[in-house]
Symmetry: C2
DNA sequence: CCACGCATGTAATAGGTTACATGATTTA
DNA sequence: TAAATCATGTAACCTATTACATGCGTGG
């Protein structure tokens, strides 16, 4: 189960479920997300399995915090997972499904509006990642003296930026193509 | 439910569940996939809802085929979905999760091997889409006189090609960076 | 006093994969 | 005769989202 390994890896230092959720939301983890209702039971399962142990600590605000930390068994399981082959799953793009069947509407104006909206949505996402990348470039010793953690973080951020850039460019290219086709359609109408 | 709308859209002409599954597998549908155990119940649900109707037809080989076709209500539901805003969900990249936490192994050789393997996996996928794109370029009247269906198909294929190319390029760039870091590490060791 | 952030959880539902069950026809 | 393809389906399980339930402390 991938989420369990991600949580395990995020528990480099002891943390609560609530904290882990915040790290997902803060956009630090652009490649995955999870809800609290998924995180809490996962942590409980892992503790039962012996990968984590937890202690209750008082909180300034609100109820007691259950702080989880990795056990040796947990660290071993993580190490094994990190050494396994890359997990490349089927990616599912709902917006491509919409686009590919849009010909059935027989209305290129709809396609054009769709692509423009999509472009904006993807560009917004890209901007988030780009600014994170810019922030990283301000790190002390960038890029030659990054520590191992930041070095790996940089690689992963860059993948998000390049992949989203390619999609935004594809939107622009597609908008051009649809516009051209639309213009020709009108000329012969 | 996205799958239901995709099946609805694929039923441009009447088809069986088995046929729909084949279309997913043939790689024609690079943006989505589904198992028969998901397709059959989905078709049944849609028939109950009045989006599809089915008839039993004899088959040359094997059991009778249940052929589904869209009703007017189904066509209307599809049209509404196609006209809705682009569905941009959270993409989940398990291999980026592996990569980003790999610093905890403190062994750049593992990272390097990982990226090389990933590069090969992604390049294989890219090749599939690229050859589909090449095949499309051999279509009569390409690119200026494509019909609407092929035009939309081309746009969607191109997105797959560009997005995967970006990822392969990112792998290459990352392999370079890791190699350089590794070389420096050894020099000062 | 109410909304918001902190903090924990459960329940219901939806979406998806793997395994199981059945049986005909064709091809090696 | 064994495997592959055609063709339908169900059951069990895993993964993920949305909704529900509870309650403290702080700031407006």
């Amino acid at each position: 189960m991938i989420l369990e390994y991600i949580l395990l890896a995020m528990l480099r230092e002891p943390k609560t479920g609530y904290t882990l959720k915040n790290e997902f939301d803060q956009g630090e983890r652009h490649f995955w997300s999870a809800e609290l209702s998924q995180i809490y039971p996962a942590l409980q399962r892992m503790e039962k399995r012996g990968w984590l142990k937890s202690t209750l600590e008082p909180s300034d605000k609100g109820p007691e915090r259950r702080v989880y930390s990795r056990t040796k068994a947990g660290a071993k399981a993580l190490s094994k997972w990190l050494r396994s082959d890359p997990i490349v799953g089927m990616e599912r793009f709902a917006y491509i499904a919409q686009l590919i069947y849009m010909d059935q509407l027989d209305d290129l104006d709809v396609t054009l509006r769709f692509l423009k909206k999509l472009r904006d949505l993807l560009a917004d996402k890209l901007e988030l990642l780009s600014s994170a990348e810019t922030a990283m470039a301000a790190l002390p010793g960038f890029p030659n003296k990054l520590n191992n953690e930041d070095f790996h973080g940089r690689l992963s951020l860059r993948m998000g930026v390049l992949s989203l850039s390619a999609k935004v460019q594809w939107c622009d290219e597609s908008i051009q193509r649809v516009s051209a086709r639309l213009a020709k359609e009108r000329k012969y109408a």
